[in-house]
Amino acid sequence: MSDDLTIAVPRGALFDGTLDLLDRLGIDTSEVRSNERKLLFADAGIVTMRPSDVPTYVEHGSADIGITGKDVLLEQSQRHVYELLDLGYGHCRMVVAAREGGDPIGDALRRLGRVRIATKYPRVAAAHFAETGRQAEIVEVKGSVELAPLTGLVDGIVDLTATGRTLEENHLRVVEEIGVCTARLIANPVAHKLKGDRIDRIVEGIRGS
């Protein structure tokens, strides 16, 4: 942990919203915007990474604070990080989806006693089906989850959707909503104390903007 504040910034869907937010706080993001391959921006105190790695770097204190989606935090709920603010942008829904027409999930449960679910969020999916009293076999996939029900691998999926268009294009429909996910500001527990002033200034800056 150096003396300067290091911020973990997620590449991908939250990237632009996060850089806009940092601009409003007076942090110079021009170099980050103009350089797609570079990962570490020492002058601005920014490191960029995929959103699911943000809690890892923040937990270790390699980044003092970071921005990531609530979906990532739900899936990695064992991480020792503090969740400071709901940033509001990156609005998505965590949903259960299945093929259009009929009720593949209900049918599987009724006839086979369990449902097969593909997801990139195995913990969230397992918890959702356990909480609703249904037996589920969770199949973890890394790529496009929409493919899994179309090929008969599974009866349904748990995934994040913003507009629902990808689901629609693959003839899937939302059957349940698990929750709403937005971008969150997280902090390393030790940095939250030792660099409290600087972190508070950012929190106040965001609240005021």
Binding site: M1, D3, E59, H60, G61, S62, Q78, R79, H80, Y82, E83, L84, L85, D86, R184, N188, P189, V190, A191, H192, K193, L194, G196, D197, D200, V203
Partner: protein, 322 residues
């Protein structure tokens, strides 16, 4: 060929062992100089006895049976065994009593990084010195022992585990809502806390107080900024600050009004130890005035324990800076 050892355990080879030993020796000398004699207790205790100290046996996770069918548990900290020793072996001895230890303890490695299953704990327990006098002694001695171990930038976070709960009481928040609120607080899920508090139907000023209080941390200033309903606990922290100032270590302390520690036996002040070289707390502790009484000897007590391997991480980082 691999011959695995359980995750969260490790072999220590001579180079590392020498350095760990040196850290323990320096800290032990510091504790001994202040009258804290080192003690050792069995790694295995009767589970029933550990449970006397705390319902969950302080989180002890490894159990076995002996030949009589009694349940034995690997201790998860040294505080409960020390309480047992005080109530039995020191039954007739006048307090105060001061002990230090460097001993292994075992927990499950369920959450996140840096959570070993087996770890070497270095710590101290001060028994029979009530209130801020005792708290200040434990804080000052911990800081001094870490100085001896070669740390330079370490700090101690100080809070009061009863503060938020008494605040909830004074605002008339129904008791059945306390637990989820305190759980969010202990994880510092401030977004979740905010949502729950907003659903309580309080007036805006009270809502603001419950949401903002856990964000207050820093020097003496935060004790001024804490509003009246948090009164008694904050008054105690102010008194502690003054004693720490007399001991010349007040600037090494960060007051943290949102600090709560998970262990059930703490009754007041709680501590966490930080070093900027390590992203997680080196250890922690607090005041546990009811624990000794559960073993039949009513005495106030305060203690603090740290993971020696984490101290080693911080010390190695300090060396590389020098």
């Amino acid at each position: 060929m691999t011959h695995p050892i359980p995750p969260g355990t490790r072999d220590v080879l001579p180079d590392e062992m020498r350095e760990l030993r040196a850290i323990c020796d320096r800290m032990r000398a510091c504790f001994e100089d202040s009258g804290y004699g080192e003690i050792h207790t069995p790694a295995l205790e009767y589970e029933d006895v550990l449970r006397l100290g705390e319902e969950r046996a302080a989180g002890a996770r490894y159990r076995t049976f002996d030949e009589q069918g009694d349940v034995l548990a690997l201790r998860s900290d040294m505080t409960i065994p020390v309480a047992r020793v005080v109530a039995t072996r020191y039954r007739e001895v006048e307090p105060p009593l001061r002990f230090c230890y460097f001993a292994r303890a075992w927990r499950t490695a369920e959450r996140g990084v840096g959570e070993p299953r087996e770890f070497l704990q270095g710590g101290l327990e001060l028994i029979g010195v009530p209130g801020v006098e005792g708290d200040a002694e434990v804080v000052a001695l911990t800081l001094a022992a870490l100085d001896e171990a070669g740390l330079r930038r370490h700090r101690i976070g100080v809070g009061d585990g009863s503060l938020y709960r008494s605040l909830l009481m004074s605002l008339g928040v129904p008791v059945d809502r306390h637990l989820p609120l305190l759980e969010s607080l202990s994880r510092r899920d401030l977004v979740g806390l905010d949502m729950q508090v907003s659903g309580l139907g309080l007036r805006e000023r009270e809502r603001e107080l419950l949401v903002r209080l856990p964000e207050l941390r820093g020097g003496r200033g935060v004790l001024e900024r804490a509003a009246a309903p948090a009164g008694d606990a904050v008054e105690g922290l102010r008194a502690l600050y003054e004693l720490l100032e007399e001991r010349g270590v007040a600037d090494r302390v960060i007051f943290d009004l949102g600090l709560v520690r998970e262990l059930g036996y703490y009754t007041g002040v709680v501590f966490e130890v930080y070093d900027p070289a390590v992203g997680f707390a080196l250890g922690g502790g607090g005041r546990y005035d009811d624990l000794l009484g559960r073993f039949g000897r009513e005495l106030p007590a305060c203690g603090l324990a740290m993971d020696v391997q984490r101290i080693h991480l911080a010390q190695a980082a300090e060396e590389s800076l020098a």
